[in-house]
Amino acid sequence: MNSIIEIENLTKEFNGFVAVDHISLSVEEGEIFGFLGPNGAGKTTITKILCTILNPTSGTVKVCGYDVTQERDSVRTCIGIVFQDSCIDKFLTGKENLDFHARMYHMDRRIRERRIAEVLDLLDLKGKENIKISDCSGGIQRRFEVARGFMNHPKALFLDEPTLGLDIQTRRSLWDYIRMLNEKEGTTIILTTHYIEETDYLCHRVAIMEQGKIVALDTPEKLKGVVGSNLLSLQIANSDDTNLLNSLKELAWIKNVEVHNGSLEMSIAGRDERIPQLVEFADEHGFIITAIDLHQPSLEDAFLHYTGRTIREEEEDTKELRKARMIRGGK
C-alpha cells in the first residue's frame, strides 16, 4: 500500500496559539480516514494545510507525494475538497457550478460533459442539475458540493464536517454516497467530524484529536476494544464513589474502573450475569444502587477513555477557552 498523505511533526501556530501540535501520521491510498474531535481541536487547520491554503509553521506535509508548500499546484491537481461552510454559487445551477469547476482544472468540453454526467449519476443528482442551487434543499446542495469536489478525479478527497447541519436521514444517505465513492472510484477520503457515529460508520481508521494533538489513532474496532469488551455504568445514592471504588477492587472480573460525572464506568469480563452479582455485592456492602446499565463499548466510550471526557464536554470547554481568548485579545 502506498501512503497518500504523509505528515511529519506538523505544527501550526497562530500568534503563539498552538492549533496543531507536533502531529505525525500517514494515510494509505484507498482509505477513509477520520479526524475526530471537538470544535477547535485542530481538524480544520490540518485539512487547510493539506489542501495548500494554509502553510505549516513547522514540519513536513506531503500529499500524493508532493510537498504542500513547495509543490502547491501539483498537490492541487490531485485533490478535491468539500469545505465546512457551504461555498457553492447559489445563483447558478448545479450543472453550471460543476462546469465552472471543471474549467478551472482545464478539462475540455467533451471530458467535462462526460464527467459531469458521471458525477451526477454517482450522486443521484440527475434531473436536478438545471435547478438553481438556492432552490435546492440543504442535502442536495451538499451533494452537489461533494460532486464538485469529485469532478477532477481527485486521488484524495477532503471532507470538512460534510454533514454539519443536516438532518439524520440526509446525513445517513450522504454517508452511503461517501462510502460508495470510496469503493467505486478508489478515492482516498479524509474526513473531519465531531460526530462520533459518522466516524464509526464510515472510517477505516480514526485519529482522535484533542487540543491540537492526536491522542489515539487506530481502527474504530480497536479503539473500542481498548475500552474493554463490555461496559457497566453504575450510580449509587448513599456513599461517595471512592468508597465503593475501593471495595469494587475485590472483584476479579472488573478490569478497570473510572469515575465520571458521579457515575462509575467499569469495563468487565463477562456479560449480563454480572448485573445480579453486582447488585448482590452492593447489598452486602450497604450501597444503594440508583442506576445500572450494561452496554457494548462505542466510539464515544473510547473517546471518553482517551480524553477523560465526552465530546460534548470538550466542546463546552473549547467555547469557554475561546471566549476567554476573545476577551483577552480584544478581538
Binding site: C51, T52, I53, L54, N55, T69, R72, D73, S74, R76, T77, C78, I79, I81, F83, D85, C87, I88, D89, F91, L92, E96, F100, H101, R103, M104, Y105, H106, K132, R148, H153
Partner: protein
C-alpha cells in the same frame, strides 16, 4: 496520473470562466441590477432635471451650451462606475470567505489569472450599468455631442473601472474583514464622489479645493467623460486619458499583486 500543468501567468480558460460567471450572476440577479441603477437615476431625476429648469445663463460657471442636467450626467455616470467598480474589487474579500473564490483557490490556477478574470467580469458589468445611465440621461434630454465622443467615453469608462477595481481590491486585501470595510468604504467613496467635479466645475473653485481635486482620480474620469459625452471639460482629453491610464495600471496592478500574495499564510 494526469500530467501536472505548470500554471501560466495568464491562463485564458480560467480568466474566461471567471468572467463568464460574473456575467451570469449579473444577468440572473435582476434585483441587484435595479438597485445599482436606482441611486444614479434618483440623482439625475430629482437633482439634475429640476436644476436644468434654471436657465443656464443664470449659472455663471456653466460651460456654453450646457444646462445643469447635461453638466451633471457625466458625473453620475462616473459615480455609477466608482461604486460598481470599487464594490466589485472589494467583494473579492467575501467571495473568498464564503463564495466561489474559496473553491477556486484550491484549484491549480495561477492567482493572477483568477483575479484578472474576475475583475474583467466586474468591469464589464460596471460598464453596462454606466451605459444604462447614459441611456437614461439621453432619455431625459441630455444631448450627446458626437458619436465618436460616445465611443471615446467608453474608453474612459473602462479606465475608471480598472482604477477603482484595483482600488477596491487594495482596500479589501489590506482591511481584511467585512464589517470594518463597509463603514470605511462610505467614508472614502463619498468624498471621492463629491470632490470629483461631478456637481461643480473645478475651474470655479478656490485654489485649496482645486488641489484636493487634482489628487482625486475620479476628477480626471468625470472630466474625461464630460469632455467626450457633452463637452465643457476642464483639462484637455489627452491629459485625462494619460493620468487615468497610469493610475489604472498602477492601482489594478497593485491590487492584483496584493491578491496573488494572499497565498497560504
Amino acid at each position: 496520473m494526469q500530467a501536472v500543468r505548470a500554471t501560466k501567468f495568464i491562463d485564458p480558460l480560467p480568466i474566461y470562466t471567471m468572467w463568464l460567471r460574473q456575467m451570469k450572476r449579473f444577468l440572473r440577479v435582476k434585483a441587484r441590477l435595479a438597485s445599482s441603477i436606482l441611486m444614479p437615476f434618483l440623482f439625475l431625476a430629482f437633482l439634475g432635471l429640476p436644476l436644468s429648469f434654471i436657465p443656464a445663463r443664470e449659472i455663471q460657471w456653466m460651460p456654453v451650451g450646457l444646462n445643469f442636467l447635461d453638466f451633471l450626467a457625466p458625473g453620475i455616470v462616473g459615480m455609477t462606475l466608482l461604486f460598481a467598480a470599487t464594490m466589485s474589487g472589494a467583494s473579492v474579500i467575501w467571495d473568498k470567505e464564503f463564495g466561489f473564490l474559496k473553491e477556486v483557490l484550491v484549484a491549480p490556477v495561477n492567482r493572477f489569472s483568477i483575479i484578472l478574470g474576475r475583475s474583467l467580469g466586474g468591469m464589464t458589468t460596471a460598464v453596462i450599468q454606466a451605459l444604462i445611465i447614459v441611456a437614461i440621461a439621453v432619455a431625459m434630454g441630455v444631448k450627446i455631442s458626437s458619436v465618436s465622443g460616445f465611443f471615446l467615453s467608453i474608453v474612459f469608462m473602462i479606465l475608471i473601472c480598472a482604477t477603482f477595481t484595483g482600488f477596491g481590491l487594495i482596500l479589501a486585501t489590506k482591511l481584511g474583514d467585512m464589517e470594518g470595510f463597509m463603514s470605511i468604504m462610505n467614508l472614502i467613496i463619498m468624498p471621492i464622489f463629491f470632490l470629483s467635479g461631478a456637481f461643480f466645475p473645478l475651474q470655479a473653485m478656490p485654489a485649496w479645493l482645486r488641489y484636493i481635486m487634482y489628487v482625486n482620480p475620479l476628477t480626471y474620469g468625470v472630466d474625461g467623460l464630460r469632455g467626450t459625452l457633452v463637452g465643457g471639460a476642464a483639462f484637455p482629453l489627452w491629459l485625462d486619458f494619460t493620468v487615468l491610464l497610469i493610475l489604472s495600471i498602477v492601482l489594478a496592478g497593485l491590487g492584483a499583486y496584493f491578491f496573488s500574495k494572499m497565498e497560504a499564510d
